[in-house]
């Protein structure tokens, strides 16, 4: 959509500039999709080769914590979408408030994830940290390796997202980011956050709900 703001070199009109900005961000997001895509392919292969063991391993995960975390991320995405809407209307304070709310939900997600990892450590299910002998077999060990790598990589992305959203809120309240000229910065950070949400939307059923 067209939005207010200055046209910068080398663009001639605001719509063209906006499309180029969005295109750049979407191509970056495509590389993120491929990064996690490799992990998803590995999880699917393990599931096809060992259907029974994978379902048993999946049943031992805390699907309820995962469900709450999914709800938290979906709600934080709504907050970011509302922040972008406020930023487009040049309501800097309102946008900053929504961004802080989204970042706080992100922190809550990370807190629950940490709680979950500690529970899995107690149950002897956390690779690297737990005694390998406590896994029911090599397939469960492999599945939990993939679980730790994919959720860990996702948690790193959530952490980056929380820092981005928090920094953005500071810049908006401090007046360092002028609205609506620089609304694309809010939009691009929002896109990143939503993609991190989308990745979790797939990680959750694939890891926690294999039945």
């Amino acid at each position: 959509m067209a939005e207010p703001g200055f046209v910068r070199e080398p663009f001639r009109e605001i719509r063209q500039q906006h499309e180029a900005d969005m295109l750049g961000m979407y191509i970056f997001l495509a590389t993120e999709i491929m990064l996690f895509g490799g992990l998803f392919a590995a999880i699917f292969v393990v599931r096809v080769l060992h259907p029974i063991e994978v379902v048993e391993a999946s049943r031992r995960l805390h699907y309820f914590i995962g469900a709450i975390n999914t709800g938290i991320l979906l709600s934080s995405s709504l907050a970011v979408a509302l922040a972008v809407q406020a930023a487009r209307a040049a309501l800097a304070r309102r946008a900053a408030l929504f961004l802080v709310a989204a970042a706080a939900l992100g922190v809550a997600f990370l807190g629950l994830k940490a709680l979950e990892y500690s529970k899995e450590y107690d149950e002897g299910l956390l690779p690297v940290f737990s005694d390998p002998g406590r896994f029911s077999g090599p397939v469960e060990h492999l599945f939990m390796n993939l679980y730790l790598i994919s959720t860990g990589l996702h948690a790193i992305h959530v952490t980056i997202g929380v820092l981005l959203l928090g920094g953005l809120a500071l810049r908006l309240t401090g007046g360092a980011l002028r609205l609506p000229d620089r609304v694309i910065v809010v939009e691009a950070c929002g896109l990143y956050w939503h993609l991190v949400d989308v990745i979790w939307v797939f990680l959750y059923p694939v890891l926690y709900l294999a039945r």
Partner: protein, 95 residues
Amino acid sequence: MSATRTLVLAWSALMCLLFATVGASFVLTGPWSIVTSLAIALAKAALIFWFFMHLREEAGLVRLVAIGAGAWLLILILLSMTDYATRPALGGMTN
């Protein structure tokens, strides 16, 4: 319909789909479980891309890039699966 209302409705739909996917995991097993949970996840992703990630407002080029990312991912996963799915039939490694 106001923009805020649209966004809140999209979020409500996402939460309903979350309940649906958890509910389905109690009822379905095996291939139906995978197909259903992936279909629900795809629907959620579509809602997020369309309403939250501005695809609704963008022109064809940006939409094409978004679909393109999914298409390459599909190639990666489907081609890997043709290998693993056909190995037992060829009498090769089954485990």
